[in-house]
Amino acid sequence: MTPRPGILDPQGKAIHHSLNSLGWDSVEDVRVGKAIYLDLAAEDEGSAVEAAEAMCRKLLANPVTETFEVSLVDVPAGDDGADGAAT
């Protein structure tokens, strides 16, 4: 989840300022979002992504202020069950 362009991101602004004052003048913009890791059971990768996207639209993201992106990451070895976790 990332703040939409044009939506004031006070956290990003504060971090941007701090990075600049530490000497990283190359930083031109900072946006602060969040990552939600879902461990879910699904038939295949496509349906896992589809389900995660539906969850984002319904609850996890606010379309007014945020955009979202769903991607699959590997479940660490030893973790049982899921075919993949959508983030």
Binding site: L8, P10, L60, N62, T65
Partner: protein
């Protein structure tokens, strides 16, 4: 006038709102977020607080409470709904009001008295105020920064949906008087139909001289007057 005060886990202004409704003669009832059905109520009030600890986004999880389906239906019938602070956040999350409340521009929680200018007096909630009246009412929030996309903001201003604006003591909507970075100093808005009000400041905490201000009373007397006009 029968008024429902919806209580969520983490609501903390529910008793203030209950008392405020009683103070203007309403028969107030707490309705737990898991209850269903709002038949028989004349108005619904959503209190401030930190429902579900503000997890995910303020109001996002409360919006999924069973009773919210009834609140949405109640609002769609044209009956009056007021959301204060967390209640405003929940109404935005539920899509009953446009836009969203994001983190204060200062990144800090802000609890203090502010001045508000009454921008509309032709609503169910503000008829007992004078046009342009300046109120002193407390705020207490960390996520009260009103944001929306540009076309929504233009429409809000163009169609006069801004009901309260943060101003200084002289009534000017300056940046210094804006406690949270809200676009155009927006403190409270009303929906297209005029029956749903959301505001970040707490009128229910400005009902007694002893507590520093009585400027919040007008919202509740306006609501009572509007409902008695409907009843008669």
């Amino acid at each position: 006038m029968k008024v429902a005060v919806i209580t969520f886990p983490g609501s903390n202004c529910d008793y203030d709102l209950y008392k405020a409704a009683q103070q203007v003669g309403a028969d107030a009832t707490f309705v737990w977020h898991r209850e269903r059905g709002l038949d028989g109520y004349d108005a619904v009030l959503l209190p401030g607080g930190f429902s579900y600890g503000d997890y995910l986004r303020a109001g996002a999880i409360a919006r999924m409470s069973p009773v919210m389906e009834d609140v949405i239906e109640f609002a769609h019938r044209g009956a009056p709904v007021v959301g204060i602070c967390n209640g405003f956040q929940i109404l935005c999350e539920a899509g009953l009001l446009p836009g969203a409340l994001v983190r204060n521009a200062s990144l800090l929680f802000s609890g203090k008295d502010v001045h508000l200018r009454v921008e509309r007096v032709d609503t169910h909630f503000t008829s007992q105020y004078e046009p342009g009246q300046i109120l002193r009412v407390p705020i207490a929030h960390g996520e009260g920064n009103y944001e929306a996309d540009e076309s929504t903001l233009e429409r809000l201003e163009g169609e006069g949906h801004v009901v309260f604006r943060y101003v200084d003591a002289a009534g000017e909507a300056t940046d210094a008087a804006n406690p949270n970075g809200s676009w155009h100093n927006i403190a409270g808005i009303i929906n297209d139909e005029g029956n749903v009000l959301g505001m970040m400041p707490h009128p229910e905490r400005a009902m007694e001289e002893l507590l520093g201000s009585t400027d919040g009373i007008g919202i509740f007397t306006s609501l009572a007057a509007s409902l008695s006009a409907v009843a008669s």
